[in-house]
């Protein structure tokens, strides 16, 4: 992909450098839609037998009741998984993950976290991720994989007994699934807030540059 051979020069709309290639944009927005369906229907499913002492408001859940939510969840899962596999395969095959997300060094992460907390972390060059971004983007891919695997364990604890055993057991897989959802929602809040604070990053995810 020629779009990946980015130069170090400042990226402006005039230079026309593609920051987010087409396949990243398409899979990103399909994923955003599928994630919204999965999370909102997942909250409704959670409400049928809450793990903790609270329920999600029906104004933010999808499906109306348990059966409806399960239908949404097990339909949107295909969109999420197929789209996710395309993203992972193309991401590895093109080397984009390696170029964009690696290396992640502890010292780099620490210094960039410090800079971020003192509002000194620059966003001038959208083609290069700082260490905080690298850590979060790589981390959320791992969380995405774990939430799918824990979900499969809850769905098929007999047929995929070995997978459920990997998480401890069916009951523990439910907690893992919930924690991964919480991490994704936390990521989402930071991600959306920063995209709004740095609008050109949002523009790049829509029109590519």
């Amino acid at each position: 992909m020629s779009s990946l051979t980015v130069s170090e020069q400042d990226v402006t709309p005039q230079t026309g450098k593609v920051i987010q290639p087409g396949w990243v944009r398409v899979t990103h927005w399909i994923n955003a839609f599928a994630m919204a369906l999965m999370i909102m229907s997942g909250w409704q499913i959670y409400n049928a037998s809450p793990l903790f002492d609270f329920r999600f408001s029906s104004s933010i859940t999808l499906g109306g009741w348990l059966a409806g939510a399960l239908l949404w969840h097990f339909a949107a899962m295909w969109l999420l998984v197929v789209n996710g596999l395309v993203y992972l395969i193309v991401g590895f095959a093109t080397g984009r993950f390696r170029k964009k997300l690696l290396p992640i060094t502890p010292s780099g992460v620490i210094s960039d976290v410090k800079a971020a907390l003192t509002f000194k972390l620059a966003h001038d060059d959208l083609t290069k991720y700082n260490y905080v971004q690298k850590l979060l983007y790589a981390g959320i891919i791992v969380v995405g994989i774990v939430i799918v695997l824990s979900g499969l364990s809850i769905w098929k604890p007999v047929q995929l007994r070995w997978l459920a055993a990997l998480f401890g057991d069916y009951d523990i897989a439910r907690y893992v699934h919930f924690i991964c959802m919480s991490l994704i929602v936390a990521f989402l809040i930071v991600h959306v807030a920063l995209a709004l604070l740095v609008p050109k990053s949002l523009r790049a995810m829509i029109i590519g540059r």
Binding site: I45, N47, A48, G64, L66, G68, L71, W72, A75, V158
Partner: protein
């Protein structure tokens, strides 16, 4: 559904309330449930458009659920056994669960009760409880997983269903064994033949080594550890071997029909 939402009272178990409300709905309304107005509104807001018409969304979701039935049947390994547990792992007390209170559970007279057998079998004679108790029994300590997500481990003793199906000369090329129950409103549920023939699928007569109590389905429950709880019918009064999909109490309301673990 939007109207239903405004009726929800703080402090009242919404799940039970909705379940009651759904039961009270006339049949056509009961089947139009999936894209709840309030929730769908939130989704419409999210996507910024109004393309998701609730009835067409419902049709698509039902088709995907049928597709998921096929996928699960394909994944299903008839030799894969559900995990078994030591007696010490048994959940005490084992939860009673139904769409009614325990006081409303069917009271079946074991002396007059007979298991009716219909459909694609050689011997359609009805079976008394005494006759059924004479069949060889095995015990299993397995996990019951509810569609709601909770689970509990119990001890069930009875005759493997496949042994009984053999005795009555079942056409095992048929697609389903369809069970009807004594619950109010007439509970019923179809079981695919491959699951019916699974070694752990059981005609259960005992819970925790005691005659099945009323709360857990006296006189007979079908224990299927490879299925979600609602596919484990209690208070069974008849079974029919059939090639027709006859639906089920919860299946008709939208729960995925295969619902295999």
């Amino acid at each position: 559904m939007g109207r239903m939402r405004s009726l929800l009272i703080p402090g009242v178990d919404k799940k039970l309330l909705v379940r009651d409300a759904v039961k009270a709905m006339p049949d056509p309304a009961r089947r139009r449930f999936i894209a709840g107005g309030a929730s769908l509104g939130a989704l419409t807001l999210l996507t910024g458009c109004d393309i998701i018409d609730s009835s067409s969304a419902e049709e698509v979701l039902k088709k995907v659920s049928k597709f998921n039935d096929a996928v699960q049947a394909w994944i299903f390994n008839p030799d894969a056994l559900a995990p078994t547990f030591p007696e010490s792992a048994i959940t005490k007390p084992f939860p009673f669960n139904a769409y009614y209170e325990v006081d409303d559970a069917p009271e079946v007279d074991g002396k007059s009760w007979k298991l009716e057998v219909r459909g694609l079998v050689d011997d359609k004679k009805s079976w008394t409880l005494e006759e059924l108790y004479k069949l060889p029994q095995v015990k299993q300590v397995t996990r019951h997983i509810c569609v709601e997500g909770w689970s509990a481990i119990g001890s069930w003793t009875g005759t493997p269903l496949r042994d009984f199906l053999k005795i009555i000369g079942t056409d095992t090329s048929a697609k389903y064994v369809w069970f009807q129950c004594a619950d109010k409103e007439g509970y019923n549920s179809p079981l695919d033949m491959r699951t019916a023939l699974h070694p752990q699928t059981q005609m259960t007569f005992k819970f925790a080594d005691e005659i099945l109590p009323r709360a857990y389905g006296f006189p007979m429950k079908i224990r299927v550890p490879t299925k979600l709880g609602f596919k484990n019918p209690k208070y069974v009064i008849s079974m029919e071997v059939t090639n027709d999909y006859k639906g089920g109490y919860w299946e008709d309301q939208g729960y995925n029909s295969f619902s295999g673990n």
